[in-house]
Symmetry: C2
Amino acid sequence: MTTLAIISGTGALPATLGGTEALYVTFSGVPADIPAGADRIEARFEQLGAMFDALRVAGIKEVVLAGAMSRPSFDPAALDAFTAAAMPRLMAAMGGGDDGLLQVVMEMFTDQGFVLKGAHELRPDLVLGVAVEIGAPDNQARADIARGQEILAALSALDLGQGCVVAGGLCLGIETLQGTDFLLDTVARSAPHLKRAPGVFVKLPKEGQDLRADMPTIGPDTIAAVARAGLGGVAIKAGAVLVLERGLVERALAEHGLFLVTL
Amino acid sequence: MTTLAIISGTGALPATLGGTEALYVTFSGVPADIPAGADRIEARFEQLGAMFDALRVAGIKEVVLAGAMSRPSFDPAALDAFTAAAMPRLMAAMGGGDDGLLQVVMEMFTDQGFVLKGAHELRPDLVLGVAVEIGAPDNQARADIARGQEILAALSALDLGQGCVVAGGLCLGIETLQGTDFLLDTVARSAPHLKRAPGVFVKLPKEGQDLRADMPTIGPDTIAAVARAGLGGVAIKAGAVLVLERGLVERALAEHGLFLVTL
């Protein structure tokens, strides 16, 4: 019997981590991608007390957050006692940066006695090591990567920015709440004359970010979006960015003639 | 006879500063909005030496940069001696931040003996003083403004970011090379559920920015774009952001029920 529960959102990550073995937790009204036939608890954000009880009954010891989850809307009339008591803390957290709310949710799991795991701990093969180079960035691309790192470091102190696009020394986009796909789509819509070099997409966790929450992730769709944006390649942090469906990622890189390097 | 030359790009600013009195300088292949019938020199980026000579012949003493100008493409075969000699410096500057190139161009004007003026020096009535409040931001909007200031301060050290959008404590966009209109359009295209408050557009010069170059500017079109993005209002730096067509700006604010405050 599994002792792992996967708190599931959309994307390939929940199924990648759990296969058909784990217990999946989805939330009512929040899209999630989980394997057909897998064990599943459908929880409600208003009834976190009931969710914790159900996890205990199922014998769950470890929990991992996986996939993209839209921010919940609460129905105050449906709150259970546990969640009602936690509301002031949740509401305060929602006013902060992206990480604030997730941090509180994670603290709740650990307060309730569950061990929180990061996806990279359960599946170390999903991250890339140092000094990986697929394809070959030229000197301009290397300079653009350095500029991107500098920008993300400055924003990191503000709990903001997991990604940015730099081309020919100039910043063409910074990832905000809308996420990576939106950023790359925005760059794709930019006037082509603004780009004096193909440019790079740089994706890093925030400095000090707890990788058990909202770990930066790329996959074949990311590479396709990078190609649509006309960029030359991608730079990610070694050991700290999940690469889903790596075979398809490598195929997409080759197909579009893009590089991928780790930092 | 005028002693003022307006180095002109697009928008209302060139005509606002010069009327039909000044000498307008436009660049071949670069769109510019100047009054019909005004005196004009059509220059080429490849032939800056010829431009400086023409300005001297016309008796010009003061120069102001006005309006949005797209980045030039150089035709190396057309370079005059002056510009050829300046190319290494120009090329190096183009690899830096947005301000790098402008700074070099401005230094060229002063090196050639011209006095560079800021639009706000020629027309102090185009900026707003401290503590201006049109409409009334609520407490959430004030918190969003503070967050926006914090984000722009962090980016300012990197020569990046004159504007950002914050809603309910969360950043929905940071102005990059594409400019203000593109930023606001991008926010307008974002998923509405990401906004837990109307949000604000914060527009400031970079810290230490030379206001004679690329001074932040808003106008009636900016207010309309803020309204399309569904935001609650605008915050600008007192004394350091040009407000063009102020009557129309105030009318647009009233029409859309938006606030404008100075910081």
